[in-house]
Subunit: 79 residues, 2 copies
Amino acid sequence: MSVATFYHAGCSVCVDAEQNLAYALDPARYTVEIVNFADSPERIAEAETAGVQSVPAFVIDGSVFHVNHGATMAQVKGE
Amino acid sequence: MSVATFYHAGCSVCVDAEQNLAYALDPARYTVEIVNFADSPERIAEAETAGVQSVPAFVIDGSVFHVNHGATMAQVKGE
């Protein structure tokens, strides 16, 4: 099983991607973890280290896939 | 079954998304069609009508998900 981590911040763009793309992955091959920074701000550093520059984004097997554009990580951090 | 159309233009960003995200969708729920504009330029108009602004991008159930940034549609069209 691969782990696909979907990082988001609760924005409408994020929720749309969550509903239509994150839940579309094959459950036989991927464990999808949904991380909402509003609930889990302590995961922000991990996402940035992985290369996440904006949300929503997937990290799958070390590769980052930014999906549309909800917010920058600076906005997520309130900078 | 839903149809997920993955539009791309053969660029490295596109191929990475194809390999890691397009093929990750659940085959029990999604028929994934891969459209490479280099092979199928006649599909460009259809993609633009659906709202595709850059590639790689998915269109799933009418929603457009731009994934990272390989090329704009203007670049795809050689404008």
